[in-house]
């Protein structure tokens, strides 16, 4: 009797789980877009002779189920923490570091692509005959190596940075960030715990270094007005599945004496203008980083009417979004080009048209090595 009762309990639990997930899946409303993963979710599969015949119907059903599965987020977290407990740190490409640090695993290097990117930078700078600078931001794991888990893969940053410097020598001046960032890494956070980007302090150190290299006087740290925002969860958090991690506090360093005009252009669209470098509305989202210049766009023009003379071209990825507001005090115009989206015009034409006088390449090391759009630079 006892045995039969036990059997019934197990059967009930099993059926409850299988049918529970199944029925909930059917009942749950399906959204077409995941704000968390920042991607379009699989739409309902289309049933037709063609899709059934070539097997795409079956694979679409599996992705549809997976994308809209009840408790998807919780299950991803369960898997992440489960793997971590089994000693497998970094299942989703993110290390569960010490003190709440979530750090990208080392860059996997595609040497041919890296070489091509460096060649593109070199060729473009030589063709334009303008003073050019290359700034590659080391990865969090390399600078914050004390915060990595004890067993981790080696970070190849030192070697890659050395290679980037050596292979662009003569055409481009190298801005050495690794030394500065490493020596200040213990003072205050230069990178975010839950995001791959640098903090405003990290970007400030880069600005300071760049100013010395170019030859202008950087503003003192104390001159900035700092605005903070809590509850920031960035990219490494979103990828990791470690949902119990504490959020970061995002800092925005404002220059109180700067008047700026911002013009954001997407390819083939009307430009949008603003007179604020910071898009405060973005602080309402979980990922607050787009507060800096509203995230990535094809072309962003920054103008400083109170400055005279110099006009800078920044060829960049997202790291420059936090850096450019510091630089604007010293330039009358900065054109920021993101080659991942800047497709309609040639950068050289922009240089001519806007009479730009120097070039800064600002990339996170990961993109400098692996981005496939730098070859479009012309």
């Amino acid at each position: 009797m006892q045995k039969q009762k036990q059997e019934r309990v197990l059967i009930a639990i099993f059926l409850l789980l299988i049918f529970g997930f199944s029925v909930t899946f059917w009942l749950l409303p399906k959204s077409s877009f995941s704000a968390e993963e920042k991607r379009a979710l699989q739409p309902a599969p289309e049933f037709s002779a063609a899709t059934v015949g070539d097997g795409t119907f079956a694979s679409t059903v599996e992705s549809y189920l997976s994308d809209h599965f009840p408790l998807r987020r919780e299950l991803v977290g369960l898997h992440a923490y489960g793997s971590l407990i089994c000693g497998n740190n970094g299942q989703n490409g993110i290390y569960f570091g010490k003190d709440g640090w979530l750090i990208n695993k080392p860059v996997s290097v595609n040497p041919a692509n890296f070489q091509q990117n460096l060649d593109s930078i070199k060729d473009f700078s030589q063709k334009e005959h303008l003073p050019a600078y290359l700034m590659a931001v080391p990865t969090t794991g390399f600078i914050m190596d004390d915060e990595l888990p004890d067993a981790h893969e080696d970070y190849p940053d030192a070697q890659l940075l050395g290679e980037a410097k050596a292979k662009t020598e003569g055409a481009v001046q190298w801005v050495n960030l690794a030394g500065v960032l490493s020596s200040h890494s213990a003072d205050a956070p230069l990178y975010y715990h839950t995001d791959h980007h640098w903090t405003s302090r990290g970007a400030y150190l880069a600005y300071d270094t760049f100013a010395c290299d170019v030859g202008f006087h950087p503003m003192a740290q104390a001159a900035f007005r700092v605005r903070t925002s809590g509850g920031f969860y960035g990219t490494t958090y979103a990828k990791s599945g470690f949902w119990f991690t504490r959020p970061d506090t995002l800092e925005v360093w404002q220059n109180p004496n700067l008047t700026a005009k911002v013009e954001i252009c997407e390819d083939g669209q009307q430009a949008k203008t603003s007179d604020n470098l910071f898009y405060w509305g973005q602080l309402k989202n979980e990922d607050q980083y787009p507060v800096f210049l509203n995230g990535n766009h094809s072309l962003v023009r920054l103008c400083n009417p109170n400055s005279s003379g110099k006009r800078l071209l920044i060829v960049k990825d997202s790291y420059a979004n936090c850096l450019a507001p510091f630089l604007l005090a010293h330039y009358s115009q900065i054109d920021m080009v993101d080659l991942r989206y800047f497709r309609k015009t040639a950068a050289s034409q922009l240089v001519k048209q806007d009479r730009l006088t120097s070039i800064l390449f600002c990339y996170g090391l990961d993109d400098l090595v692996n981005d496939r759009n730098l070859s479009l630079l012309a």
Binding site: I11, K38, V52, R340
Partner: protein, 464 residues
């Protein structure tokens, strides 16, 4: 369709179960056949016609063999049917390989390489069909009168794609009438979830490590190459035995009793013992339908060894159309023949651990012949395993081995009967029910989480 997928677990399986049990007992073969065909056609519907053809043709051959009393005609019918079945198997499975091998011969380069796709489960259902025809021919079972029941036997979804190979005479009664008690249902749940966890939580992870070792090429070193061999051994055991467990579990949930396929092969005390524990239903099939008809071991050592050789050439090629599988078969032929000829008495006298060690080493090396398809890679792997190729792998692989080490230990322990013995000890106690329920929930949730995580892929540079 594969068992370890969300589509199966949360769409096909619950729907099939409900429909099956809603239909009155005597009609249940009808929804079951429909479910089998849907399961088979899912993802690759083009081979549905082939399996329907095989089913119909063999049904009528079976009937004809059963009706005919004259022994020569029976023999001819059997031979003809087997030639058709094996012909289809050879055509779909071995043509590409044969053509590729012929093209390497001098003067044969003009042949065009064929690219014939392999129908799902053909190696398994061909063996099912042959066992059916042979059992009828021998009078072990009567021919099936209902094409519906025969269709259910050939296409039965729990076992059609990867076994266990159910011999017709074992299952014929269940095709007509079967019951499912709550004890059977519970046992089915247990097997299904254990199998699922084995496949998703251990085999898939070990596969990642084995891929990393393979990708590291000649830099794996002594440690890396042994870790790779261990990872692949665990992967294939947990993958295949997990699949068999799921098959048996699903069988029980639908009222069938399918034969056991794995009996802790990695604790075998000799190579002979290993092959009594690994893929049991296949070994039995070869024994009953090849080895014994050839005379087995009753006609002196020479014939025995010849029969062993034939069985292992076939076993090798059955596992895959490539030379390395033949090499793998020959490897086991040599080891088994050696044990038959002189090693067994030696092993019996030696301490127990010697036999276990020999068995473990034999499958670790054996799996490398199985897993690596070209001979130069096999040579390189063996060189490294014998220490000619450095000691430690490079930093990245070393790190990966360390990350998977705890899971490897769990896998190694899990491939012994230890966990099952501990579990059985709680039987009857009050804690048993609680332990069982917790394990059931954990296995299902963790496996589902792993399946979901495969698709979790945030696109972080999305810009809007």
């Amino acid at each position: 369709m594969v068992f370890a997928s969300l589509t199966f677990l949360f769409l096909f399986f619950p729907a099939s179960l409900i429909i099956y049990y809603l239909v009155p007992k005597k009609w249940r073969n009808i929804p079951l056949l429909a479910e089998n065909l849907l399961f088979y056609a899912w993802g690759e519907p083009r081979f549905l016609l082939l399996i329907l053809f095989s089913t119909v043709v063999n049904f009528f051959f079976g009937k004809a063999i059963g009706k005919n009393a004259e022994s020569r005609r029976r023999k001819c019918l059997l031979a003809l049917a087997v030639v058709i079945d094996l012909g289809l198997l050879v055509f779909f499975k071995y043509t590409n390989f044969l053509v590729a091998s012929l093209r390497l011969l001098p003067g044969m380069g003009w042949m065009a390489q064929t690219e014939i796709a392999l129908p799902l489960g053909i190696s398994f259902y061909t063996f099912h069909v042959i066992s059916y025809l042979a059992d009828i021919y021998r009078g072990d079972a009567p021919a099936q009168k209902s094409i519906l029941r025969f269709g259910v036997y050939i296409t039965l979804f729990p076992q059609m794609i990867a076994g266990p190979i159910v011999r017709y005479k074992q299952i014929q009664g269940q095709l007509e009438e079967r019951t499912c008690t709550s004890a059977q249902f519970v046992s089915g749940i247990r097997l299904l979830l254990v199998g699922l966890a084995k496949k998703v939580l251990i085999a898939n992870q070990m596969g990642v490590l084995w891929d990393a070792v393979k990708a590291s090429g000649s830099t794996a070193g002594l440690l890396g190459s042994w870790a790779g061999a261990a990872a692949f051994s665990l992967q294939i055991y947990f993958d295949f035995s997990g699949y068999s467990d799921m098959a048996r579990g699903l069988g029980e949930l639908f009222g069938f009793e399918l034969p056991i396929n794995f009996n802790y092969p990695y604790i075998a005390s000799s190579v002979t013992d290993y092959w009594r524990r690994w893929h049991i239903s296949l070994s039995l099939w070869f024994r009953d339908y090849v080895y014994i008809p050839l005379g087995g071991s009753r006609h002196g050592m020479r014939v025995t060894i010849r029969n062993l050789l034939i069985v292992w050439v076939l076993t090798g090629f059955w596992h895959g159309a490539n030379w390395n599988f033949l090499l793998w078969g020959m490897y086991y032929f040599v080891l088994l023949a050696a044990e038959k000829l002189f090693l067994q008495p030696v092993l019996k006298k030696a301490p127990v651990w010697v036999g276990h060690l020999c068995a473990v080493l034999s499958f670790l090396f054996g799996w490398m012949l199985f897993a690596l398809t070209d001979f130069s890679t096999i040579g390189r792997q063996f060189q490294m395993m014998f220490g000619f190729g450095g000691l430690l792998p490079d930093g990245k692989l070393l790190y990966q081995i360390l990350s998977y080490l705890p899971l490897m230990i769990i896998g190694a322990v899990g491939s012994t009967p230890l966990v099952k013995r501990l579990y059985d000890r709680t039987e009857g106690s009050r804690a048993h029910c609680a332990v069982e329920c917790v394990c059931c929930v954990a296995a299902l949730l963790l496996s589902t989480a792993a399946l979901i995580s495969q698709s979790y892929n945030p696109f972080l540079y999305f810009r809007f």
